[in-house]
Symmetry: C4
Subunit: 124 residues, 4 copies
């Protein structure tokens, strides 16, 4: 693959939600999966949106060159100490200083079996 | 994040369906998840399409600036009193007067376990 | 909503598959969900691609103006008599003479619970 | 359908993961589903990205003209002998010398029921 940068500078995910319940010892969770195929580290900033309160953030992370990072959104350590509420609809954007690609996924274990969903975000 | 408006003015979701059955005390449902990252409130209008009858709508809602809204499509109170039929294939569009982003999701609990699906809509 | 036509003239779905097994009396199946928001009927043509044989089609259907149609891909009656094989990886394209939108979904009931997936197709 | 080439030359999938566990005798797996609707064979190259090590690849495959190929990412024979690790977050890109379309899917059987997810990749 060439070293061309690929991707977009801003990504949107309208349907984010951390289920309150879990089973099987596996917590229900979401991941913001980022890919930086370029030769420069990416400085990415998450902003979290809610239905009834002001946005939260930005939370800034580094995504190294030629690396992926699957950011667990239920893990405050992965988000600079920010703890997102469970059982509350939210949404988020990711801004980056170099082009990256974002895919959003959820694992819901609340009903005693796993269910997954995923989508590439909306990029601009 | 800058205050730039991001998104599109019209969104399309061809596969919508409210399952007739539910379990676990959790109704099978769909959500139209909208994100408005801009500084102005969005006036959004839903139009619902069917296989064998005229479209329904528009149903107009307000999506506040810098907010998300996860609109439950099985809830007449969330749709200005419109009750969508269960067990009937439908589709919908969302028009907005400012750019927004739409993601469509379904939770089907009919078979005694949860299954989810999601996709960013098709935006223009 | 205005009467503007919205959508694309060609859509691609690389991951199609009709599972061999079913349960709950609900057959595992896929649907090609089409939406025509315009004022003219759409003439749509499906072409099916395989791993090891020549493409099948085109299969031509009509999608009426301002209607959705959720085409069951396991139903020969919905496809002009064409019966797609179960348990065989395939893919398909949809060409239309007016802009439409395509979303592809699968319901797999083979393991005794439902699992769904969906994605907006790739449109050009 | 005309013989026009359709698709993109580079595709990105940020959320790839081969679960460690399986059940029902059906291994948890992922497929990179490619579609080449054109009249020329495609030479496609996979590159795999990780969180904490250098990218792997390229792995080169041929996708014949007017064919689909659902590449099992857990099968070294499908990837020129490359064995991707289970239980490790990864991502991948696909480059092609003619336009193709990529859809990524996962089947997770680890919890005793199936769950699927899918998305069209991000294409450029």
């Amino acid at each position: 693959m060439s070293d061309d940068l690929g991707g977009r500078l801003r990504w949107y995910v309208p349907d984010a939600y951390l289920p309150s319940e879990s089973s099987h010892g596996v917590p229900s969770h979401e991941s913001a999966c980022l890919l930086n195929t370029g030769a420069r580290n990416a400085r990415v900033r998450f902003t979290f949106f809610f239905e009834d309160r002001e946005p939260l953030g930005p939370v800034e992370l580094v995504l190294e060159a030629r690396r992926t990072r699957h950011v667990r959104l239920d893990d405050p350590d992965a988000l600079g100490g920010v703890e997102l509420p469970r059982g509350v609809p939210y949404a988020y954007t990711v801004d980056s200083d170099v082009p990256v690609v974002l895919q959003h996924s959820r694992l819901d274990t609340s009903a005693g079996a796993y269910t997954l969903f995923t989508t590439i975000g909306y990029g601009e």
